[in-house]
């Protein structure tokens, strides 16, 4: 299996990282089904804050439901008071002094006491909830797994630093389940934001700075993530496929990546011509271990193992890479890769077929 616990690409042509099962139901039915599904599964979704999969996101989801209930009550009360004031009724005649005292009671009760108490309660809940995301030292003294994420226009570079050797992926992040993971994030060009809604938080990725955020996933699964700070025309197509796996599997995956046999320029197989095309047209930007160091575009060493192409633009399936190579400027207009439609379709097909085999 090459140590790659991936969800496979789906039949849909252009998809984003696997939406959970319940959400997928929605696509199936007609209008009524959709409405029903909204009611039943309204909170779920690959990017839904209300479908938390980690402690930080769960805190916030609870915070939301609590605030919704409390503030909903305040809202209904204020609007009801407002509308009731217009109801025709007898006004008891009061002395100006009595009216003044009555007015004061309204102001002190509604204008001072109500907001004062509300915000005190809110602060009491809010401050502890935020502390979970702080990169504080762990109680046991051990340091959590660190994953470095760099935002580029418009793709993600993910690095897993380790003394045994660094592993690099692009647009695809694998993390261990059940333990806190520190994400060290930065931006390579403009400001992006790292956000895995179902795990919690959000932190800007700023050129020249490294920001840290601590997230944890409860159970294995696939989570959608999308750049959250507007970063240019293809902000919409900057998806990150986040996959949480059990710790042992994570270690195994890291090890298998580190020990994978690198590509060799002169392997005598059917992909020799594709490697030549790669060397001529792709190698100055893209890395493939053993062939080229690239350094500008995403690392393609594990391209075949990805779930999507173009950071969530196109689902990975047979022939998808060739299609991407031919049409990427139409699928993701403005992306930084030059068009390659001057190459013959057979050449692109061969290149695509080889790239799809890259699954270390």
């Amino acid at each position: 299996m090459g140590g790659v616990p991936l969800s496979e690409g789906r039949g849909g042509r252009r998809v984003n990282p696997g939406p959970p099962r319940r959400a997928r139901l929605r696509g199936a039915g007609g209008g009524l089904t959709v409405a029903l599904a909204m009611g039943a599964a309204g909170c779920s979704g690959s990017h839904s804050i209300l479908d938390p999969a980690g402690p930080a996101a769960r805190d916030v989801a609870w915070l939301w439901w609590g605030m919704l209930a409390g503030f909903g009550l305040v809202f209904v009360a204020v609007v009801a008071l407002w509308l009731a004031a217009f109801r025709p009724r007898e006004r008891p005649s009061r002395s100006p002094e009595a009216e003044r005292r009555l007015g004061l009671r309204w102001i002190l009760g509604g204008g001072i006491l109500l907001p004062g108490v509300s915000i005190l309660i809110l602060l009491a809940f809010g401050v502890p909830a935020g502390q979970r995301l702080l990169p504080l030292p762990l109680p046991g003294g051990e340091s959590p797994q660190v994953i470095e994420v760099t935002g580029h226009q418009w793709w993600w570079e993910v690095r897993y630093p380790d003394e045994a050797g660094e592993v690099v992926t692009a647009n695809h992040l694998v993390m261990p389940v059940g333990e806190p993971v520190d994400f060290h994030v930065t931006g390579a060009d403009v400001i992006h934001a790292f956000w895995v809604p179902r795990l919690g938080g959000k932190i800007d990725m700023i050129p020249g700075r490294i920001n840290r955020i601590r997230l944890e996933a409860d159970a294995p699964g696939v989570f959608g993530a999308q750049c959250a700070e507007y970063c240019g025309v293809q902000h919409a197509h900057m998806q990150l496929h986040v996959e949480a796996v059990p710790p042992e599997e994570f270690e195994a995956w890291l090890a298998s990546r580190r020990e994978a046999e690198p590509e060799s320029p002169d392997s005598p197989d059917e992909h020799a011509s594709a490697r030549e095309t790669f060397a001529a047209h792709c190698a100055s930007c893209h890395r493939v271990a053993g062939l080229a160091e690239g350094g500008i575009g995403p690392d393609l060493t594990d391209l075949g193992a990805r779930a999507t192409l173009g950071a969530g633009t196109l689902a990975m399936e047979e022939g998808a890479v060739a299609r991407w190579l031919a049409e990427h400027q139409r699928l993701k207009p403005g992306n930084r890769m030059p068009a390659h439609d001057h190459l013959a379709p057979e050449v692109l097909d061969a290149l695509g077929a080889w790239l799809e085999t890259l699954r270390p």
């Binding site: 004062g116 915000i119 005190l120 602060l123 401050v127 502890p128 502390q131 702080l134 990169p135 504080l136 030292p137």
Partner: protein, 118 residues
């Protein structure tokens, strides 16, 4: 009366701005002081809340609180005795001082709960 004393009198319209100006200055000192302190000498993350930075900020907060409390009390006293425009200014000013004091206390609360530089 020299101009400064006139400005500081409880019935001068400047009283409507003084309390919140103090609040703003305190706020700027709090945020600026924290930022600079964290750049120059950040305490170890493990130290928690009990740091010199938190201590200094708390002291500053208490001092501001005291000043605002006194100003509010002074305004209330002057307002009780005044009439017309000066009564209006003194009482509204006292209310604003009180609010500013409450604002200082409320915004200062996190000093007691959060480590400074993380």
């Amino acid at each position: 009366m020299n101009p400064l004393r006139r400005w500081l009198a409880p019935s001068h319209p400047a009283q409507l701005l003084l309390g919140l100006t103090l609040w703003s200055l305190w706020f700027v000192a709090l945020y600026g002081g924290l930022s600079v302190a964290c750049e120059l000498a950040p305490p170890a993350p493990g130290q928690g809340v009990l740091t010199a930075i938190n201590g200094a900020l708390a002291l500053l907060t208490l001092a501001t609180l005291g000043l605002l409390g006194w100003l509010a009390w002074r305004g209330l006293r002057a307002g009780r005795g005044g009439v017309g425009g000066s009564r209006f200014i003194a009482l509204t000013g006292a209310g604003l001082h009180l609010f500013s004091a409450a604002g200082v206390a409320f915004v200062g609360l996190p000093i007691l709960a959060l480590p400074p530089c993380l």
